[in-house]
């Protein structure tokens, strides 16, 4: 890696890095723009397999010091994708000791209650109905950056408001607070 690369990684350390996964080229471009306009760094991939490769979960590579700069703060994935769908990707991420702390948001054009419930129960932070709005991204960003600020102080989770969009109409919504945790601090996941 060149020195220039190292410098830009340090600069980017305060920028949220979002991994967007969607098989639709139109949606990838759209979500990428929503994220960039919200000052996020974006990596957009077309499939669950590619996402896992990027995250270093393909079994081929181990995490290296270089990989640190590519740390992902949020994964936004489409639900309906050929091959590995969003739910399967979510499962793989939550089953991984290295990746399970990364919040995952599912996007879907279909607001099917059983689908929403399944995803939330598997550990998705939110289920967003497409088309994604700028306000959705802003809300996610606010929640993520609040987590960063509270790192050394009292638990920021206790002061996180439940957004009106939270957890759709899922029955789990009333009992669980927004379970996002900053994976860099490696705090244990709260049991909802």
């Amino acid at each position: 890696m060149s020195t220039a690369g190292l410098v830009s990684r340090r600069d980017c350390s305060h920028q949220l890095h979002v991994l967007a996964v969607d098989d639709s080229v139109v949606d990838r471009k759209f979500v990428e723009r929503l994220l960039k306009i919200s000052s996020c760094k974006v990596t957009a991939v077309e499939s669950g397999i590619r996402a896992l490769q990027f995250l270093g979960l393909d079994g081929e590579k181990k995490e290296t010091a270089g990989f640190d700069g590519l740390k992902v703060n949020l994964i936004m994935t489409d639900y309906s994708m050929p091959g590995m769908n969003g739910f399967e990707l979510l499962k793989k991420i939550k089953e991984s000791s290295t990746l399970k702390e990364i919040p995952v948001v599912i996007m879907s054009s279909e607001n099917i209650l059983t689908r929403v419930d399944r995803c939330l129960e598997e550990g998705a932070e939110e289920f967003i109905v497409k088309p994604v709005k700028l306000s959705d991204v802003k809300r996610l960003k606010n929640i993520l950056t609040k987590g960063d600020k509270g790192q050394n102080e009292e638990d920021p989770l206790l002061s996180l408001p439940l957004s009106s969009h939270d957890l759709a109409s899922s029955s789990t919504s009333s009992s669980s607070p927004f379970k996002f945790l900053d994976h860099r601090s490696k705090r244990p996941r709260l049991q909802g």
Binding site: S24, F30, R33, P82, K130, K133, L134
Partner: protein
């Protein structure tokens, strides 16, 4: 033509596209994402949509042409087209896709073929409309004017 006249024509044309249902609020969302740092964003996304939709429509035509085609495959393709048309605000295309999916569920081959023709037609129409719109924008910019910001709820 004066810039003011061009801008008025542009505003009227845009309004008509919304009124006639070619475009919906999602298109406005796209326009709001365009700025000086990304001045061609809308055109780029729209362009991607037309490339994508052409492939999907061709695939649909091929599939429906087979003797014993799989309705699930047709439905999957229509689902994709519905998704991307919704993402750019191409409302009429999206609406045909909604009907199309229903006919897949009903396994009504005649109606599916009808929808295929309709979806081709709607893609063709909205493509022309948008090309006209982009041309109008270019003329305004070339004449030194700014693109009027459309407000729709």
């Amino acid at each position: 033509m004066e810039v003011v006249q061009m801008q008025r024509r542009f505003a009227e044309y845009t309004a008509s596209l919304f009124r006639e249902g070619f475009l919906d609020a999602q298109f406005t969302q796209l326009q709001q994402l365009q700025d000086e740092t990304n001045p061609d964003f809308v055109e780029e996304v729209v362009s991607l949509f037309f490339e994508d939709s052409e492939k999907l429509v061709n695939n649909l035509a091929k599939t429906l042409d087979q003797q014993n085609f799989d309705y699930k495959k047709v439905d999957a393709l229509v689902h994709q087209l519905k998704g991307s048309s919704a993402s750019i605000g191409a409302q009429r295309v999206k609406n045909v896709c909604v009907a199309f999916r229903q006919f897949c569920e009903d396994q009504n081959v005649e109606a599916c073929l009808g929808c295929l023709q309709q979806v081709k037609q709607e893609c063709f129409l909205v493509k022309n409309k948008l090309e006209t719109l982009f041309r109008m924008e270019q003329q305004i910019v070339a004449a030194g004017g700014s693109i009027p910001v459309m407000e729709y709820n």
